[in-house]
């Protein structure tokens, strides 16, 4: 039984279908990153999960509780917002205490003046105070407890928001781009902290981000959403090395994957330079025009010899690596290659080069974007025939 399960969630706004039947399962304690370009519906999905919006159709279950029709307050779901959404008029301690006050105290016990007179109120308040303090200590924000959100830095506010979400031990933890308001240094640091907190709490987490690096580095599994559909849900390495769809390949990876449209040869192969791969007969009949995808780190550059002739257009030096932008002589497509500084030494703009790719690293996509099954071809005869 999965800890969190979404079944065929659909949602439309004004006739615009935002979510086209999204299904997703999370294991207990799993960290799932929901990643996609802006406007792909990932935040809408999160809001539906939180109970802030209702889905047009589909089902949500957490543990064995059906949340589909429940209001936000009734679900045991906590969320960290992009803007943190701390209550500006309350101190950090009061902010963290709010979910506990709302859940543990009765309506009468919460009354401003009469509350303290109600039986059991004092003890409940003391327990809340203790839990808030424990939370603050574990987040290392106990020295900030008397400050209001306006007097805190972005990183501190983010921790208070985390504390407010975690303090009531939710069944599911949702985060909506919680790091996007932090500066770059702090963001990388906060990634590690959130992963640590998640490990300790062991609560299934759905983390929405548009930053693919964040998704790949933090999550147990990454769910790539594009245009309202969940295209692939897999561990980060699989998402990167074995994308099921051209949009996944395009979205994940920096610099972006090289994509070339080409015709399948009569012998059922496609290739780039020396590297060729064969396609299954069943697929080829349906798709004689395909797209070839090669990640920049699997493109090799040589000054002469075999390979696709190209011209260097621009070189980016990034310290540990060099990004070479080049243009193919034949088709005019742009190719990006990621090289080590040693490999890239001596390259200058305008220089003619030859490009090759690792045959086992070619991705072939059909015209509808599906990934086609392909096998690298090592046959030298075939190569002879192709290049004469």
């Amino acid at each position: 039984m999965s800890a969190l399960s979404l079944r065929a969630i659909e949602k439309s706004f004004n006739g615009n279908q935002i979510l086209k039947g999204v299904s997703l399962d999370a294991e207990p304690g799993e960290f799932i990153a929901l990643v996609g370009p802006s406007g792909c519906g990932k935040s809408t999905l999160l809001r539906i999960l939180a109970g802030l919006e209702t889905a047009d159709s589909g089902m949500i279950t957490v543990g064995d509780q059906d949340l589909t029709k429940l209001q936000a307050a009734a679900c045991n779901v906590a969320m960290v917002f992009q803007s943190y959404a701390l209550y500006p008029h309350l101190t950090a301690a009061q902010n963290i205490a709010v979910p506990l006050v709302m859940r543990r105290l009765t309506r009468a016990q919460r009354l401003p003046l009469l509350g303290p007179l109600m039986p059991g109120q004092r003890q409940a308040v003391a327990e809340i105070k203790r839990d808030v303090r424990d939370m603050a200590v574990s987040l290392k924000i106990d020295h900030l407890m008397d400050r209001k959100p306006g007097q805190m830095s972005g990183g501190q506010r983010q921790r208070v928001a985390l504390g407010r979400a975690m303090v009531r031990r939710p069944a599911v933890f949702l985060m909506d781009e919680p790091l996007s308001n932090l500066d770059a240094n702090l963001r990388v640091h906060a990634r590690g902290e959130i992963v640590d907190l998640h490990r300790r709490a062991g609560v299934p987490t759905v983390y929405v981000t548009h930053d693919q690096a964040e998704a790949l580095s933090m999550a147990d599994r990454v769910a790539v959403m594009i245009g309202g559909a969940l295209l692939q849900l897999a561990p980060p390495a699989v998402i990167y090395d074995d994308p099921r769809h051209i949009e996944v390949a395009k979205f994940v990876g920096q610099p972006r994957i090289n994509l070339l449209s080409m015709q399948v040869d009569t012998d059922g192969t496609v290739g780039f330079g020396e590297a060729r791969c064969g396609l299954s007969r069943i697929d080829v009949a349906a798709a004689s025009s395909v797209t070839l995808g090669i990640r920049p780190e699997f493109v090799s550059v040589s000054r002469e010899g075999r390979g696709m002739p190209a011209k260097v257009e621009r070189i980016e030096f990034l310290g540990s690596e060099i990004i070479v932008h080049s243009r193919l002589d034949q088709s005019g497509d742009t190719m990006i290659a990621k090289l080590t500084p040693a490999e890239g030494a001596g390259l200058t703009a305008g220089m003619p080069i030859r490009l090759n790719a690792a045959p086992e690293r070619l991705f072939v996509f059909a015209q509808d974007g599906r990934r086609l099954f392909s096998t690298p071809v090592m046959d030298s005869d075939l190569r002879e025939r192709a290049y004469g």
Partner: protein, 278 residues
């Protein structure tokens, strides 16, 4: 703008502002001066600011004794407070619903609010008067307060303010387990004090100074508001004891002036925040 010197440009600016302030203050200053003059002093042909004989005490004593001043002030406070409290209690939840909740009638309500802003009290005064007469509610606090309890201006002002509040704040409150009423009480109102203060100022000033409506529904002195009381005072004194009349006016305007001086900063904040001018 924190320079301590007095360059010519600054002097010119201050002089201009000072002159403007003097022009606007002059009626009030003249009122203070008149409140300290004797009858003969007021009706001399020469116009002086300083009274020849200081007559403040006598005029104030007269103003205080001729009309029941405590009753007037008490009525003013009761009516203004009742109006303000009910207006806020009605307008805040209404504006919250219109700003942050999705429901079908929201557009229709917006149109109604706009229409309400366009209709002045003078247009509805007659039907309201007839209505209060039928239920026998003339000469009562109900008649003074009831027509103003739903303030479309207040709804509109709060609506603008609430729209600028982040949606995530309300979403967070819902996830924390608050009901909609809880959100209003625990999140909206504590963060809406600037808007509530600004609205209170507009409401209290308008209703403290209002003569039109009390004149229509009140004929019994026991329910007279301060401006209406002044009118009675003038009628009772045959309208020639200007010294006492000015003294009474000073007493009646004093609470507002004092409130303004004490809350000057908030007052200005409120008016600039709402982008409205009295």
């Amino acid at each position: 703008m924190t320079s301590n010197g007095f360059p010519p440009a600054r002097i010119a600016r201050l002089a201009l502002l000072g002159f403007g302030a003097l022009v606007f203050l002059s009626p009030y200053i003249f009122m203070i001066s008149t409140a300290g003059k004797t009858q003969s002093d007021i009706f001399t042909s020469s116009l002086t600011l300083i009274p020849q004989r200081w007559y403040f005490f006598e005029n104030f004593a007269k103003a205080w004794s001729r009309v029941s001043m405590p009753t007037l002030l008490f009525n003013g406070v009761v009516v203004c407070l009742l109006i303000l409290v009910i207006q806020v209690i009605v307008a805040v939840p209404c504006a919250y619903a219109m700003a942050k909740l999705k429901f079908r009638a929201a557009r229709a309500m917006m149109v109604l609010v706009m229409l309400g802003l366009l209709v002045p009290i003078h247009a509805t005064a007659l039907p309201l008067y007839v209505g209060f007469d039928r239920v026998g509610a003339l000469n009562s606090y109900v008649a003074l307060v009831a027509p103003f309890t739903i303030s479309v201006f207040g709804i509109f002002l709060f609506l603008q303010f609430f729209r600028s509040m982040p949606d995530d704040l309300i979403h967070a409150a819902r996830l924390d387990g608050m009901s909609e009423v809880g959100i209003i009480a625990r999140v909206i109102v504590p963060n809406a004090w600037p808007a509530i203060t600004a609205f209170s100022i507009f409401s209290v000033v308008a209703h403290w100074n209002d003569l039109y409506w009390p004149l229509i529904v009140v004929s019994n002195q026991a329910y007279a508001t301060p401006p209406l009381g002044l009118l009675y005072f003038r009628a009772a004194e045959a309208g020639d004891d200007y010294g006492a009349l000015m003294a009474a006016t000073l007493i009646i305007t004093f609470p507002l002036v004092a409130a303004f001086l004490l809350a000057q900063k908030r007052f200005v904040e409120g008016i600039t925040m709402t982008g409205l001018k009295g």
